[in-house]
């Protein structure tokens, strides 16, 4: 101990006990979390209805895409095991988060996240690495980097494959950037997703999902194997021709919602739209 630099030693003790110079996390997100289904239940497990675009700031191109969408698409073998993109994943089932730390420095390198639904995993890089060039591969989970904003983990995700805003044909393009916040409050975790899509949205779309920390929770595997469910000519893509999707009328008629409102758009996100809604004609009820 003859050569010990006491000033440096004191600095190390100060740093490691107070953490002042480190950009360290204020909370540790690692753990297993159970989903709660209190929010948007009909959208999540049963699934959204055909023609329900309420509260989505979609543009005309996205609306046309949704109107052409036919659920029979999901019978094609190559679509059966398609996983949910990272901006839709929070809607389903339980998740696990764990840290990856450098053995020597104990710096946080990344958070890894496993999703019980479809067994997808994502990495949130915390080491300041840049995002890949635009010609690199895009994936369903994208490329994510994170940083702490106080006690909130903020995440930026690029390099996403084309996905969906809702499971009724509303698309989200491969050019979208997704911003997320992980907010831990006690045993509760709120996961906020903000989608910026220059191709299909006129304004950012924001969605939250809540989870409860559940240390004893066991997650099952999610194997998926494609089979031919409906025999179709090779290369056939189920879809509706423009103006031929008769299912679109069902949602507004069933709930007495003006058709114009059901078609969504940024305007339908805001409270002021309630006033306009009162002036719009309601569709006739469904024939039994």
């Amino acid at each position: 101990m003859k050569n010990l630099n006491w000033t440096a030693f004191a600095a190390v003790v100060l740093i490691t006990t107070t953490g002042i110079p480190f950009a360290r996390a204020q909370v540790n997100l690692a753990g297993t979390y159970a989903m709660t289904l209190d929010e948007d239940f009909p959208e999540r497990l049963p699934g959204p209805e055909i023609g329900d675009y309420l509260g989505i700031p979609l543009n005309a191109a996205a609306r046309a895409h949704a109107e052409a969408w036919d659920a029979s698409l999901l019978t094609l073998p190559e679509y059966q095991c398609r996983v949910h993109p990272i901006d839709y994943v929070p809607s389903f089932f339980n998740i696990r988060l764990w840290e990856e730390r450098d053995k020597d420095s104990q710096q946080l390198i990344a958070y890894h996240e496993h999703h019980e639904a479809w067994g997808t995993e994502r990495t949130i890089w915390m080491d300041g690495r840049p995002h890949p060039p635009d010609y690199a591969l895009h994936t369903s989970q994208g490329f994510s980097t994170g940083k702490w904003d106080g006690e909130i983990l903020t995440v930026t995700t690029t390099h996403l494959k084309q996905g969906w805003i809702r499971r009724n044909g509303i698309p989200r393009s491969d050019r979208a950037i997704v911003y997320e916040n992980y907010i831990k409050h006690g045993e509760h975790l709120t996961w906020t997703t903000v989608i910026h899509d220059p191709a299909y949205l006129t304004e950012p779309f924001i969605r939250t999902r809540d989870f409860v920390e559940s240390p004893g929770l066991q997650m099952g595997a999610y194997p998926c194997e494609s089979v031919v469910e409906v025999v179709m000519p090779k290369g056939k893509i189920p879809h509706h021709l423009p103006g031929a999707n008769t299912f679109l009328a069902e949602f507004p008629a069933r709930y007495g919602i003006p058709t114009e409102a059901a078609m969504g758009g940024a305007e339908t996100m805001y409270p002021e739209y309630q006033q306009k809604l009162k002036t719009l004609p309601k569709p006739p009820p469904l024939k039994k």
Binding site: N59, A60, A61, A62, A64, H65, A68, L73, E78, Y79, C81, R82, V83, W118, G119, P133, D134, Y135, A136, L137, H138, T139, S140, K161, Q162, P171, S173, D174, R175, P198, A199, Y200, C224, K234, G235, K236, I237, H239, L241, P242
Partner: protein
């Protein structure tokens, strides 16, 4: 057909006059600022991104295998990029189709390499090893060697090893490589290249992420052939799970892809084909079809009102392709 080197001399004069046509597409491009980026794909395969079509590189102890050659003014930069992957000679080049943005670098990249020869061949014909071997469908050679035409090219840029069958196989760098002809799709001379051990498909312009399918009717393309080509690619891909991983796909233009991306592109091509087919069946004119905007939901991704391949040109090509009954 394997073209003998001395055949070049007979066509030199012709070729010089034709060069202007070949390089038409590169006019107004400032290549001095173009950078060639190298992206490792998987196995022995890399993707080069610059201006023009992407180049696929397979490299190993036997040498370097290229798919497409971009533009001639970029040849030095392309060779420099290849040298960051391998110092071995360029042995093979495959032309996926005849368009200049994929073949204009043929002559210079061929010169930068050498053909594998041996025995009596190297003893008798001294220049037999000069330049890399260029593999392509016969229709590309037919167009490049035509006395007059938009694709007429110097003989040094011509394919040296053509095929007329469904496919041509090469074993190189301990890997089976299958060159597969897709008839009447983007053009009438399309090939895709499958690196079987690396599990990578190089598609040429049968698949891109940047624009609507370019259906070159003047060069024998058709929407039905294009969709059949996309289906062929889909059938060849085995993903790890869902629609991701496993077989990687190097598109003619745009980013590195896998199954999910090809499925999105096929979905778009089939749906727009079906819409226009329905309109043709109802007797709509081309102008009426354009006015009906059959591409509206895909325009934010692939549409363009300016440049070489506008949305209108795409709709027109699909319409004519279906109207003419090309299957």
């Amino acid at each position: 057909m394997r073209l003998r080197p001395f055949a070049r001399h007979f066509t030199l004069l012709l070729s010089m006059t034709a060069l202007a046509g070949l390089v038409h597409a590169q006019q107004n491009q400032d290549f001095s600022k173009v950078q060639i980026h190298v992206l490792p794909v998987q196995g022995n395969v890399y993707m080069l991104v610059g201006a023009g079509g992407n180049i696929t590189v397979q490299a190993g102890k036997d040498g370097v295998f290229l798919v497409d050659t971009m533009y001639a003014p970029l040849a030095d930069k392309i060779v420099a990029a290849i040298r960051t992957i391998s110092k071995a000679p360029i042995r093979y080049i495959v032309d996926t189709h005849v368009h200049a943005d994929h073949t204009n670098g043929n002559e210079l990249l061929r010169k930068a390499g050498s053909t594998i020869t041996g025995g009596n061949v190297s003893a008798d014909i001294k220049d037999s090893a000069e330049g890399a071997q260029i593999i392509a469908h016969q229709n590309i050679l037919n167009r490049m060697s035509a006395a007059k035409g938009p694709d007429t090219a110097p003989s040094a840029a011509w394919p040296t090893d053509t095929y007329l069958t469904d496919e041509k196989d090469v074993f190189f760098n301990n890997e089976g490589i299958r060159v597969i002809h897709i008839p009447a799709a983007h053009t009438d001379g399309d090939s895709i290249v499958f690196f079987r051990r690396s599990d990578v498909i190089s598609t040429g312009d049968l698949f891109t992420t940047t624009n609507y399918p370019v259906i070159d009717l003047d060069r024998g393309g058709s929407i039905q052939g294009f969709i059949a080509g996309l289906q062929k690619i889909v059938d060849m891909i085995i993903p790890v799970y869902g629609q991701e991983g496993g077989t990687m796909v190097v598109p003619g233009h745009g980013r590195l892809c896998d199954l999910g991306d090809v499925l999105e592109y096929r979905e778009m091509a089939v749906i727009i084909r079906d819409r226009i087919q329905d309109m043709v069946g109802r007797g709509l004119t081309l102008e009426q079809v354009k006015a009906a905007k059959p591409t509206v939901d895909y325009d934010p991704l692939y549409g363009s009102t300016t440049g070489f391949w506008t949305t209108d040109k795409f709709v027109e090509a699909v319409y004519k392709s279906l109207k003419d009954g090309k299957k």
